[in-house]
Symmetry: C2
Subunit: 254 residues, 2 copies
């Protein structure tokens, strides 16, 4: 059974997609068979791995709302051990369509059961909300990784997210736990970065990853080339910090 990790935070722009793409790529270069699931209608994880969203015949929309088996939508990427289950703007309608559906929170979980033995890790990139797409992801996952941008507004949403994870654990997925909180876009020149890092380590003792992602321009350039950062510039701090994160997660399992 592959380990399923949801990358979630309702605050926007905190580095969910950057984390999902680069963690999945780092696990893949460590020869772990990895599936990246893009359940965000923006489809940024697709473009970050070089998939052309406009040319897709079927997407996660067809799996969640229709009855397409997830196997049929999975695409290969440039990395041999990394596959992706893609999305595009079609998925935007899914949240409203799911509201009246039967067992609406469990659609993704059911879809992933068919293929989870074929992967060591399944990484799910969530949209910036706590709606039904994120609820589906938390219901389908073993754990949730919370990227936290080192900014004031990002700190505000953390307790709401932790409350939502507890609710999902009580009613939909008793096994769910917090894999960890990942500090992102840390800028050692800014006071705010140091304040947020200190606050989080105090309030969530033991839950914060040792790996910390610095603000690094290569991380924002690599998606424009359709590549995870380790294929764009393996020597930069952005690439090494995500490799460190992957190691930390793999060591926990073995």
């Amino acid at each position: 059974m592959g380990k399923k990790i949801a990358i979630a935070n309702q605050k926007g722009g905190v580095g969910k997609t950057t984390t999902a793409v680069n963690l999945a790529a780092s696990l893949a270069v460590a020869e772990k068979k990895t599936l990246l699931v893009d359940i965000d209608p923006q489809g940024n994880a697709c473009s970050g791995t070089g998939i052309d969203k406009e040319s897709l015949e079927s997407t996660l929309y067809d799996v969640i709302i229709g009855d397409t088996p997830i196997k049929e939508i999975i695409k290969k990427t440039e990395l041999s051990h990394l596959d992706i289950a893609p999305s595009n703007a079609d998925l935007a309608g899914a949240e409203v369509e799911l509201v009246g559906a039967f067992a609406r929170e469990g659609k993704l979980k059911a879809a992933l059961e068919e293929i989870s033995d074929e992967y060591d890790y399944i990484v799910i990139d969530c949209p910036p909300s706590l709606g039904l797409l994120t609820v589906n992801s938390l219901t389908a996952s073993d754990s949730v990784l919370i990227p936290l941008q080192c900014e004031f507004y990002a700190m505000e949403g953390l307790s709401q997210l932790v409350r939502t994870v507890d609710l999902i654990k009580q009613h939909l997925n008793p096994e769910l736990y917090i894999e960890g909180i990942l500090l992102t876009m840390f800028d050692k020149r800014n006071n705010i970065s140091h304040q947020v890092a200190q606050d989080v380590k105090e309030h969530f003792e033991g839950k914060v990853f040792k790996a910390m992602i610095p603000r690094n321009v290569k991380l924002s350039e690599s998606p424009s080339f359709g590549k995870p950062v380790l294929l764009y510039d393996i020597g930069c701090t952005g690439a090494s910090s995500y490799l460190d994160l992957a190691k930390e997660i793999m060591y926990r399992r073995d």
Copy 2:
């Protein structure tokens, strides 16, 4: 009749709240009576203007889902010409509750009609999605201001947003137009910033504001003091660029 401007973009973290708070504050110091409407369940615009979200008796949730008149939830801020209609996490349930409601897209428009003569400007801070809360805001507004972070992923979502604005214009609000595209977090040291700025000016000729918001640490520090940036550090480039934006919008009107 006050001019109503929605600040919208489904991409997360592009500077919607920072723009809503600082544009509203800049209009208020120019002695324009301004209402800031926070329709994002994260309630960041509240904390950015010093409002304590946890102590609120009623919020925009009670206006949209219940029948509370918006007048009853409006709070004063530190600036004499700036009021705010606040939100907190209660609003998160509104999207699902609205799905089956009668005239669900027009709830905010109806609520604002009662008070729009009392203000010169009404600025609406939207959540990072194209769901019913953002649709309500676009239906209630005269125009939409699109903050665009100078990053690759942010460019991707722009055409989807413009399509949504067109749909709203066709079916719900024929008067709606694009007030402009505002470049945010522009970093002159990064190639990506220059590339995005050039691309947008080519594709959306005449729609891009002359005012451009630079990446400026004061803009990310001021919310932690509950103040718009012009009350935190009036001399910084963050403050002057939002004052420029307010002037550009006011001159169009007069």
